[in-house]
């Protein structure tokens, strides 16, 4: 264990460089640059509000905030896992020539997406102000679901990155799967207003929704976190990370032979 920590310390600077590179290059050739992390969610919120505001029950006060809270979180999970899944393959040239601890690649992808995600949170704060959302003390609990989401994304990323090396299908399968997860996550509808028992069951067992639900409780509804969602999503996050790290460490020495 000590050895691993020492090794991590040694390459911490590299991890920072990889994260910086991801973020810098993502927006380098666009005129508005990093501003896109703010503009994109604003535009998306406007579009989705227009499209879905006539859906049952969406006429509630501050719907754009409700929507943004769901979408930015889901978007982090979505882009983070996808970037990490590709990270081993897209850095294969480097991996073949320089020794670097291999988990740096998926971890770097997840962290760089987390940084842009945190920046896009500014939009959410702005929306809260504009729509006059009542802030309660429970907003202090908001980092908890965010932390769980990051752990969950990292765990899933390690599993996907490992599988992706051996089967390229994973990338396509995961695109389909995330679309499915998106519709099974109440992002642009309010579950209680949909009057569907099945939907409630699906939402109950969807760990991504568990995170989003708790995040909304703390910032949108101003209530205590839901115990079931907290426990369940936390457990899934830990399990995914354990499986992911185990799988990755078991297979990482073979990566180079399959790239």
């Amino acid at each position: 264990m000590k050895k691993y920590i020492a090794n991590f310390e040694k390459y911490r600077f590299l991890l920072g460089e990889l994260v910086k590179k991801d973020i810098k290059l993502k927006y380098r050739r666009s005129k508005l640059g990093i501003m896109w992390t703010l503009i994109e969610p604003i535009l998306m919120a406007i579009v989705l509000t227009i499209v879905f505001s006539n859906l049952r029950g969406n006429k509630m006060h501050g719907f754009p905030v409700y929507l943004l809270a769901g979408r930015t979180l889901f978007q982090f999970f979505n882009t983070g896992t996808k970037a990490a899944a590709r990270s081993i393959r897209s850095n294969s040239g480097m991996m073949r020539k320089v020794y670097i601890p291999k988990y740096m690649y998926p971890l770097g992808s997840v962290l760089s997406n987390f940084v842009t995600f945190l920046i896009s949170m500014i939009v959410l704060v702005g929306a809260c102000v504009i729509f006059k959302i009542q802030v309660t003390k429970y907003i202090l609990l908001a980092p908890i679901p965010l932390f769980i989401l990051m752990v969950m994304t990292f765990g899933m990323s390690m599993i996907l990155a490992t599988l992706e090396v051996f089967f390229r299908d994973v990338e396509y399968l995961w695109t389909v799967t995330t679309t499915l997860i998106m519709y099974c996550t109440a992002i642009f509808y309010v579950p209680e207003k949909m009057h569907s028992e099945l939907l409630l069951v699906i939402l109950k067992w969807n760990p991504v929704y568990g995170v989003i639900r708790n995040f909304r409780e703390s910032i949108f509804y101003g209530k205590m976190l839901d115990a079931w969602s907290l426990g369940y999503s936390g457990t899934v996050a830990v399990l995914l990370t354990l499986i992911g790290v185990y799988l990755f460490y078991k297979k990482q020495d073979e990566f180079i032979l399959y790239l």
Partner: protein, 257 residues
């Protein structure tokens, strides 16, 4: 001399590659093959029980024909490949001068790449900050340092790579062929830098096809053939064995014709 410490120990290293006939990289094919029991791998041992030890300050030449396993051995020593069996123990900082600048990002400028590549080689930020000017100066890139690397010539890229990799004092230096980086004047400069490292008692692993170079640089040598060491010892003796081997091979070829 004999009291010097071991710098590098290669312990019975074997490296196996799976040379599958066709690449199975999608799930459907994989399961079909499992069911049909067609998932056969052709094993290929690139290295077979390679075993040697170097003391500090020794220079080892690695001889062998193409495909003998020289590059694989260097990759195992530099840590890129993990051996199937055996292990490698190194003492101190290993600097592989192979494929200089392999970690560069083309969209990044030279300056940004100094930090990125330096981090990959395990340098700290403080160290790069200190050495930044020295690296830029040695690479002779001038104003090009702030230009994206996609606009660099291959010589410029190699020059920057060399400057970054050699800014540290290595304990073990891995060289593949004699350095031919950039134009004549830079080549001279880089050779001088490598020579100054030699003078400081660095341990050297040197791979080359040229017997002349190996004799000039090294004091010990090994010959690899099909991943096995077939001769090791003093450079003069080993070079002689290698020469007769090549001659014999040429003769055989002639006969076959």
């Amino acid at each position: 001399m004999s009291q010097q410490k071991t710098a590098l120990k290669v312990n019975h290293v074997s490296m196996k590659f799976n040379m599958s006939q066709e690449k199975v990289d999608n799930i459907k094919e994989y399961f079909i093959k499992i069911v049909k029991k067609e998932l056969s791998y052709q094993e290929f041992w690139a290295l077979n029980d390679v075993n040697f030890e170097l003391k500090r300050g020794e220079h080892l030449g690695i001889l062998g024909l193409n495909g003998a396993g020289k590059s694989t051995l260097l990759k195992v020593i530099s840590g890129v490949l993990k051996p199937t069996r055996g292990n490698v123990v190194t003492k101190g900082k290993v600097v592989p001068l192979l494929e200089l600048g392999a970690g560069f990002d083309k969209q990044y400028t030279g300056a940004e790449n100094i930090y990125l590549y330096g981090a990959m080689l395990g340098y700290t930020k403080k160290f790069i900050d200190e050495k930044y000017d020295e690296i830029v100066e040695f690479s002779e890139l001038g104003d090009f340092i702030n230009v994206p690397m996609k606009n660099y010539s291959s010589g410029m890229r190699a020059r920057l790579g060399f400057s970054i990799a050699t800014v540290v004092k290595p304990d073990i230096l891995i060289l593949d062929e004699v350095l031919s980086v950039g134009d004549a004047s830079f080549r001279q400069k880089s050779e001088e830098r490598v020579k100054s490292m030699f003078d400081e008692g660095v341990t050297v692993l040197f791979v080359s096809h040229s017997l002349e170079q190996v004799k000039r640089i090294c004091d010990k040598a090994i010959i690899l053939e099909h991943g096995t060491i077939i001769a090791k010892g003093d450079v003069e003796e080993v070079a002689e064995i290698y020469q007769t081997k090549i001659k014999r091979k040429k003769k055989r070829k002639k006969k076959a014709e």
